[in-house]
């Protein structure tokens, strides 16, 4: 509907691990088509961490699931676009080829560590399963795979791993479970790890440890991370590039320093201002909230989807969806204010 064709949506660069071009994932519901992902362009360089930020319902998770083609079909379907991973278009592969990549070359960590582990198998079995399934050349027997599981648990900092592999998930704390999930995700040494809100369900102290761990392991295993989160603090601490998502599209993309020091899109600016600061209330300051609510995906305003909440709205915003502008090198934004 509203997407201008734009071939240079994201600055060109070498060493791209993942390139997403003009991706559309729609859900065909009885009430109509929901355009959950509506023309996303994204680029992740090798060895980098890309943060994908946005509020609930903006399509972050759908985007992550689209990469792995885990969208439930029906009702969902990737209707258009290209997802180029290490030079091959994932959308052109058949089911078997995708299965070889999933969990092997691209792995995923989910938000709820407690519910994403199988409660009736030991954590050792669950890590070994990944290796046996994907990397027979590294481990042809169950014992060898268990050996790899012990190494992985040691790597993610679980004490006495040779005993812990016989534990069931309920015997571990939330932080420990997330470490096991990371061990499982990294067992096949993937080139890309997708982390969907990996620390949202954890306490701050545990969160800090998990973020440190992910940072260290990223270098050790030489993997890239796509970090899906709503927490700007987590982004600032762990990412190098940031893509801000709003209603199924990337509205701003830049390096983490740029995003925090000079955000351009009114939505990004609003998000930054809404973070509470200690002592601000005593100085009589109110928080600067973004007015209104996120429009539901079924009921989008005409033109720019942020126009109903935008403090800097102009006439053109109400009629036409903004294409991608590039006011600076390596900084793109979908906002009519940057038309020149």
């Amino acid at each position: 509907m509203q997407n201008q064709k734009d071939s240079v949506a994201i600055p060109e660069g070498n060493g791209d691990l993942l390139v997403i071009q003009d991706l559309h994932t729609h859900f065909f519901t009885p009430d109509g088509v929901v355009r959950a992902i509506d023309g996303v362009d994204l680029r992740l360089k090798k060895g980098r961490t890309l943060g994908l930020v946005g509020e609930s319902g903006c399509g972050k998770t759908v985007l992550a699931l689209s990469i792995l083609q885990l969208i439930p079909d029906p009702p969902g379907r990737i209707v258009k676009g290209r997802i180029i991973f290490e030079g091959t278009d994932l959308l052109k592969l058949d089911a078997q080829a995708i299965r070889d990549i999933r969990g092997n070359k691209i792995s995923m960590i989910f938000q709820e560590p407690m519910t994403s582990l199988n409660p009736v198998f030991t954590i050792g079995d669950q890590i070994a399963e990944v290796v046996l399934l994907h990397q027979r050349h590294r481990a042809s027997t169950k014992e060898q795979a268990k050996g790899i599981a012990v190494d992985m648990l040691k790597m993610v900092g679980i004490p006495s791993p040779d005993k812990r592999i016989n534990d069931y998930p309920h015997q571990l704390s939330g932080g420990m479970c997330q470490r096991v999930m990371i061990a499982m995700a990294l067992a096949c040494r993937p080139s890309l790890m997708i982390a969907d809100e990996p620390t949202t369900a954890l306490d701050v102290t545990t969160q800090a440890q998990i973020l440190c761990l992910m940072k260290d392991l990223k270098d050790e295993i030489d993997t890239s991370i796509l970090m899906v989160t709503h927490d700007l603090g987590v982004v600032a601490q762990s990412c190098q590039e940031v893509a801000v998502m709003y209603t199924g599209n990337i509205v701003e993309y830049a390096s983490v320093e740029e995003i925090f020091s000079a955000p351009l899109h009114p939505y990004t600016k609003g998000l930054m201002r809404a973070i509470p600061k200690v002592g601000a209330r005593q100085r009589g300051e109110f928080l600067q909230a973004i007015a209104g609510n996120v429009p539901t995906l079924k009921d989008m305003p005409k033109g720019c989807t942020f126009n109903t909440r935008c403090p800097e709205v102009m006439d053109i915003c109400r009629s036409e969806y903004p294409p991608v502008f590039r006011p600076k090198v390596d900084h793109t934004v979908r906002c009519w204010r940057y038309v020149n």
Partner: protein, 321 residues
């Protein structure tokens, strides 16, 4: 100044039972000798990690759970001794907002009956007066009164939390207990709800007990903050003083762990630092001794008590005694 709520020596222990005979295998001190005061027009923040006893403390203050020892005095009356009329009076004076705005509204009731229900229970006004009050409340929390006829599923998370606030305010409480009221909301919506709470506090002269694990939210809204660890208050101070010069090692751990929205600001101490080992600490010593970087022999043997180290700044740590 006169206290609105006084908590003295509160204790609550849960027994852990396991095996088919439900044999008692251990105890959890969910709330362990807690003393707190809440003054009129004040926000007292309560921070701590999951499992530290925040919610158990809240339940005892709401008289939903009986303490093993200690007293909770609201407006001069012990709430666990109160019966009949005086209990009803207390229940009216303390209202609560829960974390999950999706779980705390009955999906089969219209907003009008949700908001008027507390007034029916406390026998306030006639039917038409109650409806008028509901309209007034909707305006107060920034929702349109036309929405009274709708059902909860028609609202977004932030709007539902506003409805929860309207319901809590229906009977003119003096103390509002907010148990993680904004944790389930997005940043932009979270700011709207916090602003609403701040506005209502000055308009209606309310006191809040604001429970959260998010230090930046608590730091923004609270006048004073109590830090809880394993059932105990380990530090209690004015919000600004606590953030400027935290005294307890656990408070420092917490603050260092918060990811700041400033890129490149590396959190050094976390990397080297503290691991929540999950071991049960020695029952006689400081509950933080297993993870503390400054522990001494004394910490394992003796429990530190909460002392006023600086004016209005209390801490329970042997380093500061």
């Amino acid at each position: 100044m006169e206290k609105l709520l006084e908590v003295r020596g509160l204790k609550k222990t849960f027994t852990i039972r396991s095996g088919i005979f439900r044999k008692t295998t251990g105890y959890v001190n969910a709330v362990d000798s807690v003393d707190l005061d809440v003054f009129p027009d004040e926000t007292l923040g309560l921070v701590g990690e999951s499992g530290c006893g925040k919610t158990t403390l809240a339940k005892i203050i709401l008289a939903l759970e009986k303490p093993d020892a200690g007293r909770v005095i609201f407006d001069g009356v012990d709430i666990h001794e109160a019966r009949g009329q005086s209990l009803t009076h207390i229940r009216r004076g303390i209202q609560v907002i829960f974390q999950d705005p999706f779980g705390s509204l009955n999906p089969r009731k219209r907003i009008s009956s949700i908001v008027t229900e507390p007034m029916i229970i406390h026998k306030v006004g006639s039917k038409s007066q109650r409806y008028e009050r509901a309209v007034e409340l909707m305006n107060l929390v920034g929702l349109s009164p036309d929405m009274l006829g709708r059902y909860p599923h028609e609202f977004s998370g932030g709007q539902r939390q506003r409805i929860c606030i309207a319901r809590a305010l229906a009977v003119n409480p003096r103390l509002l207990l907010c148990d993680e009221p904004v944790s389930a909301l997005d940043v932009s919506i979270q700011a709207q709800v916090i602003n609403l709470l701040v506005k209502l506090q000055s308009e209606l002269s309310l006191s809040y007990i604001f429970i959260s694990h998010d230090l930046s939210v608590v730091g923004y809204i609270s006048h004073r903050i109590a830090v809880m660890y394993r059932g105990q208050i380990v530090e209690l101070a004015d919000s600004a003083a606590l953030f400027e010069s935290p005294l307890h090692p656990y408070t420092r751990c917490l603050m260092d762990a918060v990811p700041e929205p400033v890129p490149g600001k590396e959190k050094g101490s976390v990397r080297s630092g503290w691991e929540n080992s999950g071991d049960t600490p020695s029952p006689h010593g400081c509950s933080f001794s297993s993870g503390c970087p400054h522990k001494e022999d004394r910490c394992l043997k003796e429990k530190p008590s909460l002392v006023e180290k600086k004016p209005r700044h209390w801490v329970a740590c042997h380093m500061h005694q």
